[in-house]
Amino acid sequence: MKENAIQFLFKYGAIILLIAIILYFSSLSDAFFTYGNFADILRSISIVTLLALGVTFTLVVDGFDLSVGSTMSLSTVVTASLMVWYEMPLWLVLLLPLGIGVAVGLVNSLLINVIGIPDLLATLSMMYIVAGLHRTYTEGYSIYNNMPLTSGVTAPGQLSEAFLWIGQGQMLGLPVPVWIMVVMVLASYVVLSHTRWGRILYMTGGNAEAATLSGVNVKKVKTIAYIVSGVFASMAGILFTARVGSGQIDAGAPLLMEAVAAVFVGYSVLGAGKPNALGTFFGAAVIGILLNGLTIQNLPYYAFDIIKGAVLVAALAVTYVYAKNKFAKT
């Protein structure tokens, strides 16, 4: 009986909780359950979700990428600077920051696979290094249209309309960032859960030793996971620049932990018990909806972290209690 209750809670608990939250806030305010508000919520979680998808890939291979926040910050300012300082064409503006993500991923996997530093520590170091790089690059200033430069002149360029559309535009009734997020979530889901690559990623994370002895090049697989993570972080950075319309410094730092939380909340969705793309989206959504509803209820912003932490604890508790039961020593 107790076991069945846990099974049920684990499988559907997160979804039941989400429905309960939605019903609760709907009953409190007419402004909550509207199309406009939900479009808003989705747009507000789109950047965190991209970041969290990257973290998901590294967690799948039993790694952990703490550098995604900094990578996003670097990508944000580089994207803005390419337009504002160097007036580059749009395709280069979109491509170069992704290159930065690849580079950070490569350095991460160099530290982890070649030198042998544990994942968490290697990416923690990279978090500092990349954060420092992005502040050095901008000399501590945010980048905006025609900003004054230290040389005394004003910067020549502006963020183009086409670029801003990525972050602020609408398409088929939904904000463009939401479309980007949906496409990326679905693509990650398909890759992780339904392809050979996904299987190799999960099995590598499940038991690297056994994967090696089954013929998998574990180092290569981990490298790819870190590159994917870096690319997602860069995409989040580009999106952030387009959304805000300037290259804010330290854009990614506060989003790192939120992304990590979303991934872990995602463990508890539909009995997965492991990192998964749909769960990650769901985790981001739960946190986003909760914060939105509480904002409408005038909860002060400084109390938000209590809510985020509580959601995370609840999700982790369900996940680990379940795992203890499911994999109990027989």
């Binding site: 996904g198 090696t212 002895l213 089954s214």
Partner: protein, 517 residues
């Protein structure tokens, strides 16, 4: 004669697995009692219950007639029960001196706060003197001792506390012949002083040399207790294996084809030195050696899982460069590793995903996994190998050791590999599954595959192999045909006995019965 120790009707379950159903053991004062059984028979569970590591679920333990409760290692020690484990390093603190190690329990368990180094050294010296091992300096760091010396330190630790019972858990496995002889004289001395000794070993020859009585266990039950003087090895082996397995280990001939694998001068720069051998199609080659002889290293080196391997490997007549297990798999090899939970399987994943993993391309259309064909393969495997499981979606943690092992073997079937490397495939596997595994290996050989069978279970290796290569210290020291192979000969070469031929022949003659299967 009052019994020093009586263990009656001991039962122990781990989840759904019954480790002990009816464990019984009696021990008289001053007796050396051997506890025998194949892997998984329940010996170590019995020992762990006696030394307080596990509590029994049912049954009672009497010490000198009194019922005692041994619920922690500390309680067991208070009753004078000490254990010398096979992995001596887990019980020795390398950074402490020999004397501190010998007296570890007395100060780890409280007592006076200040330690008198002089006092400790004196007590330790006295204990070592009882073992005639004064040559071990009590001020040395324990980490610098040899394995044999570490064992003596552990025995001395038991003596300091006037142990009544000392359990020796495969003490001779890592020892050379001379070291073993010395240990035996220590055991004899202990028993003459009235200490009851429980002796676990896989080497029948030693058991006959040292023990007064022998208790054989199988599948968690006591099969029989023999008086050593009145029994012979065939009787004991029959009792250990049971009729089904004995039958499976009878000689059977396969037609043998061309060379499938030819290895020349293989070295890994560490353990392996200049290993050369070949395996033919349809042949089962046993590679036998003691623990630490380099069998696992050889299996890994062949499979490309070791660093820096020198030498040439030919598979099916073509020279092959194997730098990664991927290369080995492409060359038609399959490895069933020794540590199946750690190296062979994804225990938290389902049977289906484990089964398909070595050959994902076969189970995917383009990039997408085809779950139907995965399922069909898993079903086929469950059926063919007689795997007991809830279904294809059951995580492997819920399967017994034997059934897990069948998955570890069966997952290679989709590749139709030519050469199978089995590294201790019967470790931790129950008798029923063992019989199935032997049948499976025979069947593979019968269908023209080559099999390499790495094992330290000598009687099993003799039973299954067409040819036996004996390993010692990273080298192949002897090749024996099936007719030539006997337990003694293998053991002799496996313990590095080449140079000591004369002495060993004497040793063998001390035995009344030749041991063979």
């Amino acid at each position: 004669m009052t019994q020093l120790l009586e263990m009656k009707a001991i039962g122990k379950r781990f989840g759904h697995v019954t480790a002990l159903e009816n464990g019984e053991l009696t021990l008289a004062q001053g007796e050396v009692h051997a506890l025998l059984g194949v892997n998984g028979a329940g010996k170590s569970t019995m020992i762990k219950i006696l030394s307080g590591v596990y509590g029994q679920d049912s049954g009672e333990i009497r010490l000198e007639g009194e019922v005692v409760s041994l619920r922690s290692p500390k309680q067991a020690k208070e009753h004078g029960i000490y254990c010398v484990y096979q992995e001596v390093d887990t019980a020795i603190v390398a950074e402490l001196t020999v004397a501190e190690n010998i007296l570890l329990d007395s100060f780890a368990g409280g007592g006076s706060f200040l330690l008198s180094r002089q006092n400790i050294n004196k007590q330790a010296k006295a204990a070592l003197a009882k073992l005639q091992s004064e040559d071990i300096s009590v001020t040395r760091k324990a980490g610098t001792l040899s394995l044999a010396e570490k064992q003596l330190v552990l025995i001395a630790r038991a003596l300091v506390h006037s142990a009544k019972i000392i359990i020796f858990d495969e003490p001779t496995a890592p020892l050379s012949l001379t070291e073993s002889d010395k240990l035996f004289s220590v055991i004899r001395r202990l028993s003459s002083e009235g200490v009851g000794c429980i002796f676990i070993s896989h080497r029948l020859q030693e058991v006959f040399e040292i023990s007064d009585r022998i208790t054989v266990m199988r599948e968690g039950k006591r099969v029989n207790t023999f008086v050593t003087e009145e029994s012979d090895s065939e009787e004991i082996i029959e009792a250990m294996l049971g009729a089904a397995l004995s039958h499976e280990l009878e000689k059977e001939l396969h037609p043998v084809g061309d060379d499938l694998l030819n290895v020349q001068g293989l070295s890994d720069g560490q353990k392996l030195k200049d290993v050369s051998f070949s395996v033919k199609a349809g042949e089962i080659v046993g590679i036998v050696g003691l623990v630490g002889a380099g069998k696992t290293e050889l299996a890994k080196a062949l499979f490309g899982a070791a660093k820096k391997v020198e030498g040439t490997v030919e598979t099916a007549g073509r020279e092959t460069r194997i730098n990664h297990p991927g290369d080995a798999i492409r060359a038609g090899m399959a490895l069933i590793p020794e540590e199946r939970r750690k190296e062979g399987l994804f225990v938290h994943e389902t049977l289906r995903t484990n089964a398909s993993f070595p050959n994902l391309r076969k189970f995917s259309k383009g990039l997408f996994m085809n779950k139907t064909s995965e399922n069909n393969f898993a079903e086929e495997m469950i059926d063919k190998l007689n795997i007991k499981t809830g279904g294809t979606e059951t995580p492997l943690v819920h399967l017994s050791g034997g059934n897990q092992q069948k998955v570890a073997i069966g997952k290679w079937m989709s590749l139709d590999s030519l050469l199978y490397l089995f590294d201790e495939p019967t470790k931790g596997v129950d008798i029923g599954a063992k019989v199935d595994i032997f049948k499976l290996i025979r069947k593979l050989a019968g269908s023209g595959k080559g099999c390499l069978y790495f094992s330290s279970e000598i009687h099993e290796a003799i039973g299954i192999s067409d040819r036996i290569l004996v390993m010692c210290d990273g080298q192949i020291v002897k090749e024996l045909s099936r007719q030539e192979a006997t337990q003694e000969r293998i053991l002799l070469y496996a313990s590095g006995g080449k140079e000591e031929t004369v002495k060993n022949e004497q040793l063998i003659e001390r035995k009344r019965d030749p041991v063979s299967v």
